[in-house]
Symmetry: C7
Subunit: 82 residues, 7 copies
């Protein structure tokens, strides 16, 4: 159960809205279109969130090693989907 | 006994509340739902702790290379569980 | 679908204008001429964007580990092009 | 004798009090419960040392790439224990 | 076409003047004498450019992981030289 | 002769006093008890040098990726000891 | 010709005076006694250069990942020595 949970969670989040926090403080929200084991992330309809402002980014690729954390949309329960 | 202790300790902490300290100073508490050998961490019911304030984060994936240290909930004794 | 999406998206963007954000804040726009799995990026007609100013860079190679994010030109739909 | 000395020294320190200095300046003392070749470190009864203050951390996992140096408890003599 | 473009572009630039931007802001111009897949770069007749000043460096080896971007001399067209 | 010189030099310095400079500026002197190919270093009787002050550290393990440079005690001549 | 140029240039510089610039700004001059593919560098008669001052370092090992650039002594022509 343990070793694949990150990938399972991302798999379960495909097509849903997630938030990604990057090194340096940027916070980006978008629809998860893809990912890979390096945590490279493809988001569509992405926007950067700064306080109450949002800046539209559209479709983006985020390089994995800038990612600090990812908030998937739902309370995924490991095991339930396997 | 030595080489696997980190993984054993995380295995023994699955489903329990842990605290993760990240580079840059963030401190996050949540239920450990998963991990992998890179120390990528999946937490549910996560919240960021800043002094006396907490910010709800919900379900998150933390990329391992941002992790400084992890506090499991219990005084795990290596060897006892093997 | 998931693991190759970053590379597919870059493949679909060859010959088109993209924006690349680098560590340290630089933002570069150019025509994507090539890329590799490390996210090394070749851009032609590149220019650096700073507020309203642009500085012409011409043809450049960007080393992948400086890349934070890449904005392709179009709303690529994973799956449609496969 | 040379290539394994780090691991031998950590092996000889299992169950004993060590001090670990981390990037960013933190200094942590605890009982060495485990380690691995990446210098991931498991400490029990850990406490952070800041000047004359100590903050109790309990059981912790320290990710190896934050470690600057480790002070084992004893004057280990390489060769003696082999 | 995609995966080798960086190397092809450097190959096509051998013996020509290029500009290399380094982390920390340094900008170096010189004749490309060699490179390798880590983007280690050998330049002859190199000089550092700072505003209007240039400092002669002569023959240098630049370690690849300091490189942010490289400007080759010409508008290389991928595919044309293959 | 070239590829192994670092390791040969460390081998020739076992049991002798060396100085190690670390990222962040720390300077540590001690007897070299061991090393490995990552430049993890074991020192006994180590002390940190700050201007004219020394702080006793005793036996320590230094994680290799914090090392900037190492000063061995003697003018080792490559080739002589092989 | 291209892939090995860095190593050839260092090979051709053995026994000669080179200058090494390190991250953080240090500039070190010494006789190149050895190197390896990670750009770990062994210098004898090394001295740190700061403006007009020099600090004697003697024999040193520089860990490769601190190296920004290396200035060999001569105008090495790739191909001539092969």
């Amino acid at each position: 159960m343990s070793a694949d949970t990150t990938m399972e969670l991302l798999q379960a989040s495909l097509g849903k809205s997630i938030i990604v926090k990057l090194r340096g403080g940027a916070k980006i929200r978008g629809i998860l279109d893809g990912y890979d084991p390096h945590l490279n992330i493809v988001l569509s309809d992405a926007e950067e969130l700064k306080g109450n402002e949002t800046t539209r980014l559209g479709l983006i690729v985020i390089r994995g090693d800038n990612v600090i954390l990812i908030s998937p949309p739902i309370e995924y329960k490991p095991g339930e989907k396997e």
